[in-house]
Symmetry: C2
Subunit: 432 residues, 2 copies
């Protein structure tokens, strides 16, 4: 049962996301001694966070214990640790539980919410990149309705029933759709004392169209789906301010809202110490075509935090699970080549397509050879997400939830397990 | 869709536990105007809290939205509210969201953890009466093992792997058994770097035998089960102190432990203002045989907080779900009788038996006509708990979890969603 401690080269992987897990698995039974560290003891299946936030899934369904992933892998140890600093010159990382030495270091920390330096927005709006953040958002949505119920002032009541989602990428689109379904299928029955038709959902996108990395066909269809569901889709609009009450956009226009969800951008989850690295737009670390961070000889980056220019992707690869998984797999092979003084192979991204779901029977799928929307796209979306969800239990519980939700039109997890404390917004809303 | 507001008598029910829900349901379509208030927006299925704490179930499976329970009930409104005071003379309750008037008031607040005035124990030990408390305990158990892994001092390492459960009622017994299974089936694989055989589980009971309200046969068998599973069962022993490090018992003896679970007693969850009521041992309100609080004419108590002496139960009824359910049902009928100037019927408790589970294939069941233990008892326990769990989704998800856990010997929810902060122990550990 004991993990091996050997004289093999030491590889440290920071982060147990899609990339880190794939890399770790690909080093199984190889002549390396692997240490994975992560702030959490679980892997987060980020694509379904919005369903936790809107009461469709329980948190444990999209969290998978990292120790279980590597249970049978003798050459990998795991630590729950917060990495404070990388000391490249000493080949070690400094964490809240001690220092660890490495021969090869892999940064697979992923990305975090980017507020683009707007502190007030960061303070008052709700990010959704971690399980606790999704649970905070779930609590806030439900608390707003409980408050609306007892609020006498019509303007304040309306503000509690207005939700503004900033950022029309897949997360924003999926959250807007899920909120619209919550309104139509659940809240209308849960709050008969409220005129639930007054609930407004705004989806604000800064660029020309929502789902901008998708095909124009997909964007248009997603917009049509959302509008039919009652979501106000606003494109080409910049949000300037949010003070906890008033969202200001296009400099002068405003929406009163007590619920603002920020999904407008991400940046690499940086760790201090990589002074020689080139940090490009979005806080990503520039790497060679085999994921080596430029400026270093033994420090690599994969997934959301890596920025690699290739012929087909001159501005970097998309910040999605597939990039991380494919880079993790490739780096696993390349690390062994480097250790054996062989030449690493350049990374090439295989685009498996993009998809986003809007609601029941409604999704958009872009494949290189085929773009389709609607019911079959929705089935495809569900199938792919179940496939990539880690663990049999999580797959089974998620499937059961989806079946029950589908036939009952319900969202059974609309429970406020821990109240979200508006007064402590910054503290609570930040990733933990 | 609108709830009715009528001139019918106003009934306020404080608490959406087993008793409150049953009473609410029994008032459906009757000529009363019901308001239910609860601190949470969900009903907690307390008998399974220990499985949430030990990673076997997700929190949402044992929490059911109260609004959903009463969705189709036009004469019942629900509010998330914390009742601060009862003003009997003005026939109203004062809550954190405002005042509400009643003609009839029902206290169905249940019970809370009783530390018997031992502040230090209250500060450092873990109660398990609410979902957040169960999640705190889950986090603490897992954090202790993560810490043990990096702890160099052998004594401190051992303390992190020692768990003391104080109180050998069903909760204590079930938690001890679940911890023992966590040790044998999960932690041994999750922490290969630790000598998991050094993990100790102590179950300390003050009276002569664990499960003291059960038959002697059941107590003996439960003890045998637990001891075979490696739990140290200590009966006839009083815990005197716990300072966060050292458990002192029988005045002079000690156990070093960083995890102490307090399941040694409960007391009625009292609300200020009932000055004329007689509060008996365990903080319960003395009632007539039709649940009227003695000293009042229109204030009732049901379930854990009610104390009623009857011929068959001269010292009150057991503090279990069945008492609350049966009293809720009966009070529903009696309230209508009282409103119609009819004589209320006295309550009679029908003992459906007691049961507790210790581990896989191991449970004890006491029925009036039959006492049995082992595999069939365990099946019975599961069947009854699934039956009483509220909601189809919760039943389905729980069943899936139990099946997966049974065949995989796993506990898939061993995730630390929110870290438990030892330094803020009191604040976090208290019911929210």
């Amino acid at each position: 049962m004991n993990k091996e401690h050997t004289q093999f080269p030491k590889v440290i992987i920071i982060g147990g996301g899609f990339g880190g897990i794939q890399l770790g698995k690909n080093l199984k039974d190889k002549e390396v001694d692997v240490l994975m560290v992560d702030k959490h003891n679980y892997h987060t299946f980020q694509p379904l966070l919005y369903q936790v936030a809107t009461g469709g899934l329980e948190p444990d369904s999209i969290a998978f214990p990292l120790r279980k992933v590597f249970r049978t892998q003798k050459n990998l140890n795991f630590r729950v640790a917060d990495v404070k600093e990388i000391q490249a010159e000493n080949k070690k990382i400094i964490t809240d539980i001690g220092e660890y030495e490495y021969d090869y270091l892999v940064i697979a920390t992923g990305s975090e919410t980017n507020f683009f330096g707007q502190d007030e927005i960061e303070h008052f709006s709700m990010p959704m990149k971690t399980v606790p953040e999704a649970l905070n958002l779930r609590s806030l949505i439900l608390q707003n309705f409980e408050e609306a119920l007892i609020e006498k002032d019509p303007e304040k009541k309306q503000a509690l029933m207005n939700f503004v989602i900033v950022g029309g990428g897949p997360t924003g689109v999926e959250t807007a759709g899920a909120l619209a379904e919550l309104k139509t299928h659940v809240l209308i029955y849960d709050y008969p004392e409220l005129d639930i038709h007054k609930m407004n959902i705004y989806l604000i996108e800064g660029s020309e169209r929502i789902l901008s990395p998708f095909s124009e066909e997909a964007s248009a269809k997603a917009k049509e789906f959302l509008e039919n569901m009652g979501v106000t889709v606003m494109e080409n609009i910049r949000v300037n301010h949010y003070d906890g009450h008033l969202v200001t956009y296009n400099d002068t226009q405003t929406i009163h809202a007590k619920g603002v969800i920020w999904s407008a951008g991400v940046k690499g989850a940086m760790i201090p110490g990589l002074d020689k690295a080139e940090v490009v737009r979005g806080g990503r670390l520039k790497t060679t075509n085999y994921n080596l961070i430029e400026g270093y000889e033994n420090i690599f980056a994969i997934g959301d935090i890596a920025y690699m220019e290739t012929k087909d992707y001159p501005h970097g690869h998309p910040g999605v699970a597939q990039t991380a998984i494919q880079q993790g797999k490739q780096l696993g092979e390349n690390l062994l080549r480097i250790i054996n003084n062989e030449k690493p192979h350049p990374f090439e991204y295989y685009d498996k397509g993009s998809m986003a779901t809007v609601g029941r029977n409604k999704a958009v799928v872009d494949l290189s050879f085929w773009k389709f929307q609607g019911f079959f796209a929705w089935l495809t979306w569900m199938f792919v997400h179940l496939l990539f969800l880690v663990g049999f239990r999580n797959k089974a519980v998620t499937l059961i939830n989806w079946i029950v939700n589908y036939f009952s039109y319900d969202r059974g997890s609309r429970v406020i397990i821990r109240k979200f404390d508006r007064d402590r917004m910054t503290e609570e809303a930040k990733p933990v």
